[in-house]
């Protein structure tokens, strides 16, 4: 009888409580709902419930189920504990179709999967037959090919599994967020701009000059969403030359820069299937391993040329910082492989010397994940 009331309460009250951002819990045969019922701290072994003005800790033996303001639902269920069982609070991932239950004890994560809480089985990282969890998931999700492909990319983490279950239950064919790494190739156009009045530099016209880049990238989804942290490290080399003629004087500026650039970007990729537009922005750090700059002044009198090097002064800093933003498209040619085409603008200037040059860079990038 009590079980029937429990089921009725779950079926009818749960949608109301979750849609209204209310919290709730089942204790014995009673159901309570309201705002700020559940304390901010709860583990697999206790939940704090507000009773009057106090927070009272309850165990999974006392509370059957509770729901938090953020929509997460936790259920008390037994797990093997040696020869016996013990109860823990598990978070329910997915509400219809296949359901996954998750709890964490210490650093160890536990997942259970099944049609409901009673028939679910544990999904260890490696089974006794030494089968990886993702292989088991691929088999379980074979009825939905897009989810089965996503299962090949899933991580043994709460967010990744929750996303996978949701994809399987709706059988949505969308790119699954996963960690990518690969090769970056590109062509970089650099224009140097003097920040302040430095000798004859301001007399010169600077234009964009190009050089190839090669490097690597990483792309780590943030909380298994369409946003990702996208760092890159690439080698770049530039040879910049600018000149001007002023009466009987030639002014020449040359700059040879080669080094490593590290853009640290936040990327958003639209979750479309084959072609995904994306945009990213963030900071960039440059370390110029080779950093040779000269500003020559050549005075020509009666076919006699006297060249003077107006340096040395810190025209370009060894370390430069700045910002970077850009956009492009990702072309997915399999569930795991993509190529990325991007146009990016960056601006870097030296931190050490305020008189140093600012580099404006337009970069055309081609990336492929391995």
């Amino acid at each position: 009888m009590m079980k029937r009331w429990y089921i009725i309460a779950v079926v009818f009250l749960l949608p109301i409580t979750t849609s209204g951002q209310n919290e709730y819990y089942f204790k014995d045969s009673s159901f309570s709902t309201g705002k700020n019922l559940i304390g901010g701290y709860h583990t697999s072994e206790l939940v704090q419930i507000k009773v009057g003005d106090h927070l009272v800790p309850y165990s999974p033996y006392e509370i059957k189920e509770f729901g938090c303001k953020n929509g997460r639902v936790y259920i008390s269920r037994g797990v093997p504990n040696g020869d016996s069982t013990r109860r823990v609070f598990m978070e329910r991932l997915g509400t219809r179709g296949l359901t996954m239950y998750y709890y964490k004890q210490g650093w160890r994560r536990h997942f259970f999967i099944g049609k409901d809480s009673t028939s679910s089985i544990e999904l260890p990282r490696h089974s006794r037959q030494n089968q990886r969890f993702d292989k088991q998931l691929v088999e379980l999700m074979s009825s939905c090919p897009s989810a089965a492909n996503a299962a090949k990319l899933v991580r043994y983490s709460r967010n990744s599994m929750a996303k996978l279950i949701s994809r399987y239950n709706s059988c949505l064919s969308r790119p699954f967020p996963y960690f990518k790494y690969g090769i970056t190739l590109g062509y970089e156009l650099v224009k140097q701009v003097p920040l302040q009045q430095i000798a004859d530099l301001n007399l010169l016209n600077f234009s964009y000059e190009g050089g190839f880049i090669v490097g690597i990238f990483l792309d780590e989804p943030i909380r298994t969403s369409d946003f990702s942290f996208h760092p890159e490290a690439y080698f770049s080399q530039q040879r910049i030359s600018s000149a001007g003629v002023f009466g009987n004087m030639d002014v020449d500026y040359i700059s040879t820069l080669s080094g490593i650039k590290l853009p640290l970007l936040l990327r958003y990729a639209y979750p479309s299937n084959k072609i995904r537009p994306f945009a990213n922005a963030g900071g960039i750090f440059s370390y110029n391993v080779q950093n040779i700059n000269h500003l020559y002044e050549s005075i020509i009198i009666n076919n006699r040329v006297n060249i003077a090097d107006l340096g040395p002064f810190p025209l370009v800093d060894k370390m430069q910082f700045g910002y970077s933003f850009g956009g492009g498209v990702e072309y997915r040619f399999s569930y795991r492989r993509s190529i990325f085409l991007e146009v990016r603008y960056s601006s870097v200037s030296g931190a050490a010397h305020p008189s140093s040059m600012t580099d404006s860079e337009v970069t055309f990038l081609f990336e492929i994940n391995l």
Partner: protein, 131 residues
Amino acid sequence: MRYILVIFLVAISFFQIGCEKEAEVQPKDYPFVAIDKLDVMPNKYVAFHANIAYNDTLQIIDHGFTICDSRNHSNPAMTYIISLGSLAKNQSEFNDTIYSGLVYGMKYYLRAYTKNTRYTVYSNEVFFVNK
């Protein structure tokens, strides 16, 4: 395989650093000469190296270095000329070494020069102290 490829690419990138050819000045109708290296071993030798850009129009009939000490810095009559003779077209660098004749502790000023049938070009000036 993927890891090997990534390591290979990174290795190539690092190898490239330092192998970069330096930028050149914009085209000129005279050979643009600049001293780019100076190696001083006090009381043993002083080696110097110069680059020439745009040595492709007129034959260079003489090239070399000029050196003077700090007491005679602005006195052309006291400037010693190290002439290395003519230079083939399109040759882009030259160098020389002095093994003796320098006073220990003295500051010296050095320039490279090139002379073709139209222009005499003196490079940027560099200095060193023989100590």
